[in-house]
Symmetry: C3
Subunit: 148 residues, 3 copies
């Protein structure tokens, strides 16, 4: 933990010269945004070796009224939607939750500016605290960043 999972409509995934967005590059930027978050003692909140972003375009989808209102408003019927959900370990302060959300939100506002201007699109950024009843981590990635 933590991870950020992005569920989105596949009409985002076009080549950038056709109005799409480079989602692989965005994953990297969002991962960097997560790694940049600091707590009240100015310590990095998320361990580098445990931070990851996974993005999933839907195979099938439906959004809002399907395009009627957008077409009528001259904004097009090709609605898009992006849902970003961070799941982080429980026990962090409300301030840390806020900082995590705001770091992602700032990244989203910058990198979706063109999409937001060009088409009807809804983007949601949420942070969840995990409340798992079992938790195990097996890793050869963490040791790269936390040498014994």
């Amino acid at each position: 933990m933590p991870h950020l999972v992005i569920l989105y409509t596949p009409n985002i995934d076009r080549p950038t010269d056709q109005g799409g967005l480079n989602m692989t590059a965005l994953c990297r930027l969002l991962c960097d945004a997560m790694l940049s978050v600091r707590d009240e003692q100015n310590r990095q909140v998320f361990p580098t070796g445990g931070t990851r972003v996974l993005a999933y375009p839907a195979a099938h989808f439906a959004v809002a009224d399907g395009g009627v209102a957008g077409k009528a408003a001259g904004k097009g019927s090709d609605y898009a939607f992006v849902y970003m959900n961070v799941r982080m370990a429980k026990g962090r302060s409300a301030l840390v939750h806020q900082r995590v959300g705001e770091a992602l939100q700032a990244c989203v506002k910058t990198h979706f500016a063109e999409q937001l201007a060009a088409r009807p699109i809804g983007i949601t950024v949420q942070v969840d605290e995990g409340h798992e009843v079992f938790d195990a981590k097996i890793s050869t990635l963490h040791p790269l960043f936390n040498p014994a």
Copy 2:
């Protein structure tokens, strides 16, 4: 919010003349079912511009005993599974939760009737209340339905 995410085995995704189901059409019907739900004051529960359905066939899967019992019973070993999860904002009444679930369940019963008759298939419809610790929405879709 809300969204409905559908996770399912890809053996649902065949052409309809080969026993498959049109999942894109089903997403639209489920979205309409969500938009049709009314609260105790007869108001639409979900804002049109914030309602969406995303469906994901799994790349790999395993279900139950893998087909042994189905084959033995003459129902075939090609088990299918569909998991539907609504995540909606917290604070709604138990009656509204019930109505949302029942609207989706009714839609499922109608549109999966052939699948249910033709093969062993399990379908689950669940509604979760989100308990996020951070929530931000950035949208050029909402304003189409809520002009200033």
Copy 3:
């Protein structure tokens, strides 16, 4: 319920002779591991007809520092990540939760041994109790295992 959903980086999905892992076979093994769990009265915890595993490689992703530390350490920059999440019905004992997690963890340790040795990879196994506000199941699969 229950289901196990696996979200992972697609660099796991190579042919096995190229250092990949057979994810379809792993889904079957994990499903069997779930079915093998017994409660305090030695009863099978999960109903056979309601147990399933769905695995999803991400279309886009970012992990940790993107490969810098792994390359510097001579372990390669091709980081992988696997997140396994069980969602099971609420009301089970803490011991049952522990047994479910440990059964999956044991399966993971065995079947990811080569991956763990060959590359930087992080694997997380978590078990969640569902707290849904609506729950409906429609099934022609369950009856195969629970004849009336």
